[in-house]
Symmetry: C2
Subunit: 116 residues, 2 copies
């Protein structure tokens, strides 16, 4: 985990610190999976407020932190906004095909449930 | 979840009850991921005792139950042995490529760590 030197400096694992089990755990929550799907669809950095989840703000913050600390997303402050983006390059390098397979599986499941 | 009518009748989710998030959670534990890798390598049913984990028997039983209840494995009694097999057909039908991608990612991670 990189050291956070100020409150606005967010800690991220380096690529070689990202663990498959931790990534799978980060993806195993419906709200976090929804965030990842929206970030994948956005294809770039988006503000936390861009993604609306049916949970409290503190729970949303928690989910984003789990995603960041697992290495699934990168978070950075830009002025007053906290911006988020998928660490696709890192994940694809470490676990080829995993992110896309999970995203496809999530799409297929949503389609079966009529919630796509 | 199918109803278990006797203590030797183990409850399994039907294919259409298997949820992606639950499967990812089942796979997100190092011991459970190890079980899945061994079952994939065995390519058939094996007894619980075939897979040695560095945890207590009750913890091992717990991990197998999580895998069964998530739909990742099928367990059945054969005489006095509890046999285990991957539900590859169900998982491949629901989430094409997911199981193989996770297994490949686990192999790659083990190779990087020199624990393959």
């Amino acid at each position: 985990m990189t050291t956070a030197t100020s409150p606005r400096d967010l800690a991220h694992p380096a690529r070689d610190q990202i663990r498959l089990e931790t990534v799978l755990h980060a993806l195993s929550d419906p709200m976090r999976l929804r965030v990842v799907r929206e970030l994948a669809a956005a294809d770039g950095e988006v503000a936390c407020s861009y993604i609306e989840l049916p949970v409290t703000k503190s729970t949303t913050t928690h989910h984003f932190r789990v995603l960041r600390e697992s290495g699934v997303i990168r978070q950075a402050y830009r002025g007053t906004a906290k911006m988020n983006g998928l660490r696709r390059d890192d994940l694809d390098a470490l676990f080829p095909g995993l992110l896309d397979t999970v995203l496809s599986a999530a799409d297929a499941q949503a389609a079966r449930q009529g919630t796509a």
